[in-house]
Symmetry: D2
Subunit: 365 residues, 4 copies
């Protein structure tokens, strides 16, 4: 019961606000002896950062330079809690004062106001801002480094933006193409159309959503702790912590629910002496436990809630209906920046289960 | 970190196996002073039970009479852990010895065997059996009773089985029609077609999946604990604990990811002096917190994995590919029996959050 | 946050009441593959049982035959939650109705009544009864079996009863003499005087307390998780869960607080190539972590609260001062029966830390 | 399972090292709407600080100015995680390099080295340093502010240093005298002798320990969550997290174990219509639950381990016995500075239980 923590052994606690001093994480349970690759962390933070392409994302300039506050000595983790953060710099908070009592449709303004009795830091979405995901990425990239020791790789790529869908992509396509375009798509043709769709939505004062596929490969059989701390359950919980996520499905997902058992079951077979499945409709998870096939999860993001277009809301001070339009530095689509966040959240969950299964020791050698 | 527990204050621990002595739960954190409605618990258990319609479900006869072991005095909860269980009776375990080393495709046989080193109780799915959901239902119905004090109602109904989808249904339709047919569907015409589809699949030695919609109404604004213990995240985790669940979406879900922000945002308006939203594409959750609108979640179930049709698998003892067919007392479709389980899991999560928000006191009056 | 659970990986949940149907435990996190020694469990339960010596303990006859409800298959743990219990048999509850509103001085009657709003099961101490420690012993003996694999041994012996103190005892004395006398004392002379003191107190309508020393030997260096889940902190918490415990000290304890640093520090030295300490004033714990020397903890028990002697109390119904005397089947001294409970609680904590340090795998070989 | 967190609702996570960049805390679960009294926090930090009296404490100059990183907006808590810290300034780390492999007797050097595989930050005790208690004090003083709303007051005072014991002290004595002398003692005569004893020990190249009594008054009946999350158990666990604590007893404690039940039981009586006890041998706790009388706990501290006097240890690099003497800026006695730490840890535990009992709401009014 710790609203701002996730994980059971590799325990990540998030703190910070969009327009406060910083956003950060404390990782309690990171094994001792990990030589941190700070370049990798910074690289993933940069992938998450705004301002890279003014057409596709917000123009807020966040330097997002990661700093270590504790738990690391001579560049190596000590077994003590690892605290890392990025300082907030380019914040403009005046606008938020004006719209203090007019919650944006589709945004947490309203629920946050009611839940925290008006004490919440409302500037820039405060605690609900996607800016907090900088901390997720820091912890996620540390988790990736630990998973690398087990040869586990976590990847994410954009499968759709608005009504534009990507074609099928191999692991190689994903590795090669995702970094090349501004939308994180492994299909170059679709990537162009996605970028165009975002630009168009932006020009229309509107926003788009989309879907991302998360993949983890080279997993051992056995990750996940039924019956309540399942691999799928914990992954979904972690993914729903990303702002704008509204749907999660594994393997054949909703489509699988329309098939016959004989079609959807993944038959077991041998491949080089190893038990594998012929298909992967289960998305790599059987009974809440990894079966050795790639984890495949599809995540649905709703369109960004803050839009310039006029919308009706209620002024909570005088309880009257009013019209607002969210002029500000908002992304028109959550997808491109969410790629490293999805990877990070998946890595955190997998790393935690790897520790629970004793695949990663408390002190690295 | 307790693989078999769920919840933070209303903490439900599950124990038991399909062919062991019993399946049960211990609830640690149930408020004192609740007069338990044992008739209601038994009624929900009966809804979950097999053998009611031999065409639509397994013929295993489970009496499933709930018994109280602790935490209740003179019919009222005491504040001590509430232990309840149902004894296992009609178990035939011989068949399982024969197929000990030939894991069923789509089933946890394989992952359970590897994870627990062959020590798992493999009879009837053992710890992975849907039979454990009897405990979920017991705890869920206790949670429902607590939510009733806040006027919160949790409902579930079948929205599709195989390729047959139900039409739109009102809350009144759901209340009235779901108990009337064997498939838990609020649309009578679709219900007939669903029953037919199940029968047909069964005759073909095959199985079906489907989708269930879970709904909770009359929620206050404010349930859910961002940023990691969100209402959507915890609901999804709880729902993925139900065997065969592979997909979860809230409100407009995956469909919402294809819309514009201006289409998908739910505008705020006033209704009798109360802030409500014009539409409910968010499924009642904004920023991980209930917004007062109905919670609407759609859950995708894969088809039952155990089917009479021949399928390939690997004999784990001699590591050879073999064919198996799962002759046994299996349901051809998980949906009908899952209705009270979905309600129960949702109720457990909502009850836990209501306690966290101090809406339910530790000692009832 | 689970009031009735202890441990983080080897998680023990207790349930049951003195005059309810049973007292039991569910262990979530017991490694798979442990062949349970049920004879050992029963033996420890018998050590805890009353009625063995009518002079020294209560005459309530509890058969206390342990039963397995789940988590064990063919005598071996499966990795699923292990539920075990003893049924309650010889309960006489009428007396408790009469004194419903007159809380016994020194007993939880009063605090339980207020905390649980009068809904608590008050019969025989209900949830507060020492009878619940039968469950502690069951879990504790399973933990002992796991520790045995690491060669760790947990012992407890009586160091004082009332004003009678035992002389120094070696590990060999403890092993040899504790089982021989009714008071669990390694010093035979003191044992006789202790038995005498108990008899005398009983005849006088009174009761006694005492102290027990718990010892764990052959520990590796490194158990304990600073800075809040220390070995000493978790042991003390576990020991304070035993009814009547009011004091806990490690090593030189309170006496050490009067010494100079140069006297109390344990100098390091080499012994057969191993780092040991010359003295053991730290009780085997430095910085919350085991240092490889024997854990030595002294536990102070207050005298049994229920006594035949007249005492003043307040009738909570009419709020008047009244006199009561606790006629019933009460032990005159908590010590003798507490020996296996102390061992059990220590074993539970040590086993949990051994799992956290990966010294015991999730699946035994 | 979070080694560096304490509490279940008012959850305090500690991070930082003695010679790292900072020591701090994140509080997850602090109610929204608390106007923080930063002066009070700074005052308690100053009480904990060294360098105030060069005779009685270390000469390391720590400014220890508290800073807020998150969770506070306009001086009021928001319901988001509260991160606060003090930066480290006056650190001299060279000395620690020299004695890297020669663990100080009585110190965590040895156990930390083995447990964390040599990766621990060994400078100045690193993660084991009492410097981390600055974070405890920050969180503790916030907890005190919350308890103040319930009129609960937490006090601590020195009851002995070395062989010098203080006389009995009333609450008024404690409030009046503790701040007046450098040793935190309510008995002015004893205070002088204690200061003298410390000076003498220091001159002799030695150190002293002592005892502190912690008291909490005006508690409601009902704090504490049996049977494992008892008020005494959780307090003891929290107190053992303070460096050098080796013993904890409540009320009559070890002395009570030598008394008769009729002597040690606290008879109930009426006082102004309220149920109280005539004596307070239970230290305000019955059955793990507060009984409304003052909580009284005595805490035994061992002498400071780091002393200039020569002691034997083992060089862990070449595994040879050597002599060391700890020249450095060490306190000769842990007691005086521990007063606000004891208060803080008690306040954290009590605040957590008050939240669990719904005595403090999640949003303050």
């Amino acid at each position: 019961m710790s609203a701002n923590s996730i994980g059971s052994i590799f325990k990540v606690m998030s703190f910070g606000e969009s327009h406060g001093r910083c956003v950060g994480v404390v990782i309690d349970g990171c094994p001792a002896g990990l030589k941190l690759d700070m370049v990798l962390i910074q690289k993933d933070l940069d992938r998450r950062r705004t301002g890279q392409n003014p057409e596709l994302s917000s123009v807020r300039k966040e330097e997002d330079k990661v700093e270590i506050l504790s738990g690391v000595f001579n560049g190596v983790t000590t077994g003590a809690p690892v605290c890392m953060l990025v300082w907030n710099k380019d914040t403009i908070s005046e606008a938020y004062e004006q719209r203090r009592y007019t919650p944006r449709p589709g945004h947490a303004d309203f629920t946050g106001f009611v839940k925290y009795g008006g004490f919440e830091d409302y500037r820039g979405g405060g605690r609900f801002s996607a800016r907090n995901t900088a901390g997720f990425v820091i912890a996620g990239t540390i988790a990736k480094q630990l998973l690398e020791r087990l040869n586990i790789e976590v990847l994410a790529h954009t499968t759709s933006i608005g009504k534009v869908s990507a074609g099928k992509a191999s692991i190689e396509d994903i590795r090669a193409n995702v970094p090349k375009n501004g939308v994180g798509c492994a299909d170059p043709d679709a990537a162009d159309k996605m970028a165009e769709a975002i630009s168009k939505a932006k020009k229309g004062g509107d926003s788009l959503g989309g879907t991302i596929e998360g993949i983890a490969i080279n997993l051992p059989v056995g990750l996940g702790e039924p019956i309540f701390e399942n691999l799928d359950g914990e992954l979904s919980k972690a993914l729903f912590a990303i702002p704008a996520v509204k749907a999660v499905e594994f393997g054949s997902g909703f489509k699988g629910s329309t098939a016959f058992g004989s079609e959807n079951n993944d038959e077991f077979m041998l491949n080089g002496g190893k038990v594998v499945t012929r298909t992967n409709n289960s998305g790599g998870i059987l009974g809440g436990i990894s079966d050795g096939m790639p984890i495949v999860v599809k995540i649905g993001f709703k369109p960004i809630a803050s839009i310039p277009k006029k919308q009706t809301t209620v002024n909570l001070k005088d309880m009257k209906e009013v019209e607002i339009s969210s002029m500000g530095r908002f992304d028109p689509c959550p997808i491109p920046r969410a790629i490293p966040i999805v990877e990070g959240m998946m890595a955190i969950v997998l790393c935690d289960f790897a520790l629970r299964s004793h695949l990663i020791p408390p002190v690295l050698k």
